[in-house]
């Protein structure tokens, strides 16, 4: 197995990624045409069959989310695409947004058709300023070609627009309820859940929030059928996954691999990672972004890159980030850096995250400086548990994930640094 390009099939083949003609020539907009011929329940069934797990990081089955929204009778409904790609080590949405924006539009359009929604929003992170321009151009072209606007494909009542909203640099806005607050013009801070966003979402209306890559999967599912899509991947998660290789790896970049590919192959095959760039042995891998766990070589032998297999190993695919570190990297130093990120990005609403991340980082610095005592080790463990249990949203709840896995597997490194 090597790369399998079903999401990236057009990437690099178009001279103008925002051009509807070029997109159509490479099979674009065939899926929406196919979808409007289908019964709506049939579309839903395909997404269900595909076992598409949310590609933003939470891995929530899209089919379940879509069903929830579909059977809510409140109107209007909104479709929102989360393109606030801010997870360090993650840069796969960027490729889709800049190289094949119309595929995302088509995915959102299919959702719009299915749910009878007339309005879609895409929230693109502020740092992707130039990509935003590409995306705006794609929206404009799609509108001119009649794929957005009124009476799409000549169907009475199929009216749909997409509005681009720019983020302003807050990681927490990638959390879907904070994102909706931000779209509404409020400060981007997470809401208290439940209610589920499929019941009370954007402007208090039922709302679908999916990641860029998830939306890009939708036209592919329509085209090949849900079961065929699932077959590419594994039983617990269908399709391919865009992975972002970075760190001490030779071929850094975005690759598309079928779910279930051996991790070994992703790291070492010449077509993919190509092995470590430093020539040193593997130290550890940070999966799924800063909020993900660390994987250590002795625990990952023979592991497949699939949702279930990673979970079985106490790991997670998350956003698809694979940050490779060789054995020269001290795990405490690495984690202190990770914690610096959370100190910076905590929104500051709840106490355990606002002050907990700060104190956790300071505690890791005590280890770095050689000041840490036995009681600090105890404190570290209790802080990790408390911050996870007490934080209000997913950000705070996942702050400890990386440190816990580091401590669980490399306790001796922490101990060696104690004073």
């Amino acid at each position: 197995m090597a790369e399998k390009r079903i999401l990236l099939k057009r990437v690099g083949k178009m001279t103008d990624p925002a051009s509807v003609e070029e997109y159509e020539a490479l099979g674009g907009f065939a899926s929406i045409k196919k979808a409007v011929q289908m019964e709506k329940e049939e579309i839903l069934q395909q997404v269900d069959d595909a076992m598409l797990r949310g590609r933003g990081g939470a891995a929530y089955p899209a089919g379940r989310k879509w069903n929830h929204l579909y059977y809510n009778d409140t109107w209007p409904k909104f479709i929102v695409c989360n393109a606030d790609e801010g997870e360090p080590g993650t840069f796969k949405d960027k490729v889709l947004l800049s190289k094949d924006p119309l595929a995302i539009i088509e995915g959102m359009l299919i959702a719009g058709y299915l749910f009878g929604s007339h309005e879609g929003f895409i929230y693109i992170r502020g740092e992707y300023h130039e990509i935003q321009q590409v995306f705006l151009k794609a929206i404009e072209n799609a509108t001119k070609a009649g794929y957005l606007g009124e009476k799409i494909l000549g169907i009475e009542g199929f009216d749909y627009t997409i509005t681009m909203v720019s983020g302003a640099g807050a990681y927490v806005c990638g959390e879907n309820s904070a994102l909706l607050n931000s779209v509404e013009g409020k400060t981007g801070r997470p809401r208290i859940k439940p209610p589920h966003l499929a019941d009370v979402g954007l402007f208090k209306k039922p709302t679908l929030v999916n990641n860029v890559e998830s939306f890009a999967c939708i036209p592919v599912i329509m085209e090949m059928g849900g079961l065929a899509f699932r077959e590419i991947g594994t039983e617990d998660g269908g399709g391919t996954k865009l992975v972002c290789l970075s760190g001490h790896v030779k071929n850094r970049g975005v690759y598309e691999v079928p779910l279930g590919t051996p991790l070994q192959e992703i790291l070492y095959s010449e077509e993919l990672g190509g092995g470590l760039s430093t020539g040193r042995p593997l130290g550890f891998i940070h999966f799924g972004g800063q909020s993900g766990p660390l994987g250590f070589p002795e625990k990952m032998e023979g592991m497949l890159y699939s949702y279930q297999d990673l979970w079985d190993h106490g790991l997670a695919i998350g956003s698809g980030a694979i940050v490779v570190m060789d054995d020269s990297v001290n795990v405490v130093d690495y984690l202190e850096n990770v914690m610096g990120f959370f100190v910076h990005e905590s929104c500051g609403k709840c106490t355990p995250c606002r002050l907990g991340t700060l104190r956790l980082r300071e505690l890791l610095q005590r280890f770095q400086k050689g000041y840490a005592k036995a009681e600090d080790m105890q404190r570290l463990e209790s802080m990790l548990t408390h911050i996870t249990n007490l934080s209000a949203c997913g950000l705070g709840q996942s702050v400890s994930v990386s440190v816990k896995s580091g401590l669980g597997n490399r306790r001796q490194v922490f101990e060696a640094m104690m004073g």
């Binding site: 905590s346 609403k349 106490t351 355990p352 700060l358 104190r359 300071e362 408390h386 249990n389």
Partner: protein, 363 residues
Amino acid sequence: MNEKTGNTIKLTIDGRSCEVERGTKLMQACESLGIELPTLCYLKGVAPDGSCRMCVVEVEGGRKGGLPTACTEECAEGMVVHTRSERVVEARRFVLDLLLSNHVQTCFSCARNGSCKLQDYCLEYGVEKSSYPVGKHPHLGLADDSNPFYEFNPEKCIMCRRCARTCAELQGREVLSISQRGAQTFVSPAYDLPRGEEASRCESCGNCVSNCPTGALSSKDQKKHYRAYEVSKTRTTCPHCAVGCQFDLLVKNGRVVGVDPADGPTNGGLLCVKGKFGSYKFIHASDRLKKPLIKREGKFEEASWDEALDLVAEKLSLIKKEHGADAIAGFSCSRSPNEDNYLFQKMMRAAVGTNNVDNCARV
């Protein structure tokens, strides 16, 4: 929603069974059993913020490690809840420890010594000092004593956001909002304007001060003159306008030194600037009028009530006789009670014979 179970939910809290309406939050279910949960951010009548995390309770087999905040978690059928289990107490101690790590502990000089919720809870949960002796103390805004009635000390702020929510959702003024992010978060008026400046739009109602759980926002009078444990309270009606807000006069050594809002039917725990800061100082003012004064040869002289009332009656009768009753107008003071205002208009209409009567609360 499951129709079969109807609209009530049964759950167990601290071993006691309890039946509540669907949609009830755990905090209210606890209240119905007389169990008071600690909280720093919860404000009655305002949507829960869920930010301080003090009201965590243990829910057997519950999500999020089974430690949800009672102010935000809805009751569910068959829930088994513990409000003071070991895990709950440990979690609350962790929160208090963190808050204290960024709180200046100058309790002796603090206006709120003895009426500070952080102090009370730290005492209750045995957190005598923060276990984070060293570490960064992120600034929580600029110290601000520009308002004539109250001051803001950022070093005592615990970011419960009660002040901002009070201002926006209860007072409808939206002077305060949250700036920055993470540990750098702080509460301030727009553009960091001083609260005493008109441009900040603060009308000094002081409801943020009343709702602050610590000494971050404190009344200047309290700082100078009294602590909560020195005063006795007398529930009464605000003497100013006709709304009839309820408040407690705070009395220290026979002198009224301040006011705390009460949860009255018309004010629900809120007051305006006159009630909060302008309804007690005049009581003991040295230039307060205590006896009638009559001006004789350009100078005010003390007189008896009989003398004064006779003089007024004589003059009013004279005016009425010479110019008619409508040459007279009466204007009563909003600080007099309804009964007095009623009598006053009766006197103007029946005894004087004019409809020229008004009250300053109307203008």
